[in-house]
Amino acid sequence: MDTIKIAIYGKGGIGKSTTVANLAVAFAEQGLKVMQIGCDPKADSTIYLHQGQPIPSVLDLIRNKGNDFALNDMVTEGYNGVLCVEAGGPTPGQGCAGRGIIAALDKLAEKGAYEQYKPQVILYDVLGDVVCGGFAMPMRDGHADWIFIVTSGENMAIHAAANIATAVQNFQSRGYAKLGGLIVNRRNVAREMEKVEELAEDIHSRIVGVLPHSPLIQEAEEQKATLMEAFPKSDMADCYRQLAGQILAVCREE
């Protein structure tokens, strides 16, 4: 089976990292080798996969050690064998985070991460909007093949999702990743599903899954774990499992 490479985009704070980490566990439960790569200077994408303990980011390693570090310094095995990587980046207001994502992903490839670990699913969790070239890196050739956008029915989230979809569309001639669909992470606002359906139509895409708003997410975070680890038997856990199945189906369609 070819590696399934997925990038998750969406408005800041919409629930990308939460969704990606829970999906990672859901894929791992199916026996798949999963690698989750946080593409965000906050370096918090995988945090609940390793008990809230920070791991060294790729850019911190480059900054402190030059090239003098090993592949496994960048890759930490987390819950259920999920391989966790954080690109890292500058403190807010300084430097160039976009260039950082590019440098981190290049370093990962250069050190042979994909060949050594042979992940079957790679998940890129990408910060906020595609503001510049660096944040489009995960959708370039050689990285993700599919993009899923997390949105709620909130206007700002829909607006951001539409922007990201336009960026993906613009890159089609370059052979970048394709838009796989929308993931609705519900906030229970008025006409939520209707609005997201309209969006899907506007951007010629589809909704691949709906996640309810669940207080268990915060409870799991209190335990420094993903919901999939803390409440594996919950309905919400099944929602993530179902979403994982739908995403795999989309990616395997072609």
Binding site: R63, G89, T91, G95, R99, G100
Partner: protein
């Protein structure tokens, strides 16, 4: 494709202009860049590099520094170096990478100054403007920082001048600035300071003591305007090229001195539409002064200046031209009977043996390649140079 240069080279950039302007003043100058600016500067733009030491450094910005901002490292390195070298001042000049990541040079300079107690200038060059704007930026920053109100001086009754905008990038090191200072002296002026060749920082700091400021390249204009606003000193634009030129020049300079009204050597010396067509390519003040020197002789009437710096044209005469692209230059060169320009422009010579091409090498364009041929043009030196023209084709 009009904007593309297929044959033309580029002039030196703003970063080198900063370094060149500050070279002789005992400061520590740091280019914030990977290393490219450094080698361009010391191999091509700085003729004094091998004979005269100066504290010009590169920050050696790496990709990872650009990603993280790298300000801390830059500050740490400069502070450490400055503590060892104890320069009179520190200047930090930017390049394309810091521009893209928005490095705040004045803030960085402020932190360094706090830590070292040494006056620090943050100069937000980006490597994309011409050297003249870099020189201008550096000279103005120096003036704002160091110029003080005049201290009463006893002594000479001769008027004194500041020469503004003198760097090897425009005047090389072949003797022009020395001859220029001599010409002022033999015409009854004292040199108060020269910004910035052959003067030290204390002389520059005392610029307010002069009665008149002389702008010898467009890089000196902003400084002249600043000195005028601060101290009321009038300024005069131009260079006394040629024997007749120098006579007219010092006559007009005296008028500015007595009237207190700013003046310009070459405006008002009009070109005619008849006679041989002459095209002069170069920096506005320099090329216009060559034009004036020729117009003041018999037999030269139809002369046009083409200035390759679209950003520095405020000192061009109305009939003269700011060059936009190669196509325009090609057309101008087609029409000319005589072209006076850096030898690199020979590539555009029309295939007509009758056209005279006078090599006038410009350090900021062809660097050291033709340095030996760079003529001294002050007063009668110009006329000697001119005698050689008919021999060259």
């Amino acid at each position: 494709m009009n904007q593309a240069s297929r044959l033309l080279s580029t002039y030196t950039a703003d970063v080198s202009g900063v370094c060149s302007a500050l070279y002789e003043l005992g400061g520590l100058t740091v280019m914030h860049d990977a290393s490219g600016c450094n080698s361009t500067y010391n191999t091509h733009d700085e003729p004094r590099w091998y004979d005269r030491p100066s504290m010009v450094y590169i920050s050696a910005l790496k990709e990872i520094d650009a990603i993280f901002g790298g300000d801390d490292k830059l500050i740490r390195d400069i502070v450490e170096t400055a503590r060892q070298l104890q320069p009179r001042f520190i200047a930090i000049a930017g390049s394309p990478i810091p521009m893209l990541i928005g490095t705040d040079f004045s803030a960085v300079a402020g932190v360094i100054e706090q830590q070292t107690g040494i006056p620090t200038l943050g100069l937000a060059t980006n490597g994309m403007h011409d050297y003249l704007s870099g020189i201008s930026m550096a000279l103005c920053a120096l003036a704002r920082r160091f110029c003080h109100t005049p201290v009463a001086t006893v002594g000479s009754h001769q008027p004194s001048v500041n020469i503004l905008g003198a760097t090897p990038l425009d005047f090389s090191i072949t003797g022009n600035i020395e001859a220029l200072c001599q010409a002022f002296q033999s015409n009854g002026y004292e040199i108060n300071s020269c910004w910035a060749m052959n003067s030290d920082l204390d002389q520059l700091a005392n610029a307010s003591a002069a009665q008149i400021n002389v702008v010898v390249s467009s890089s000196g204009l902003a400084l002249a305007q600043w000195l005028k606003a601060q101290y009321g000193t009038p300024y005069f634009v131009g260079i006394p090229w040629g024997k007749q030129g120098a006579e007219a020049y010092f006559h007009a300079l005296k008028q500015t001195l007595t009237s207190g009204q700013d003046g310009c050597f070459y405006t008002g010396i009009a070109s005619q539409s008849s006679g041989k067509q002459v095209l002069i390519i170069g920096e506005a003040v320099n090329a216009s002064s060559v034009k004036a020197a020729l117009l003041l002789q018999k037999g030269w009437g139809n002369i046009q200046v083409a200035c390759p710096f679209v950003e520095n044209t405020s000192l061009l005469d109305a009939q003269d031209i700011a060059l936009q692209d190669e196509k325009q230059l090609r057309q101008l060169m087609e029409q000319a009977d005589v072209v006076i320009a850096d030898p690199l422009y020979r590539r555009f010579r029309k295939n007509d043996k009758a056209q005279i091409f006078v090599d006038w090498p410009h350090e900021a364009y062809s660097g050291r390649i033709y340095r030996q041929q760079i003529p001294v043009l002050v007063c009668e030196h110009f006329d000697l140079w001119q005698k050689g023209w008919l021999k060259v084709k």
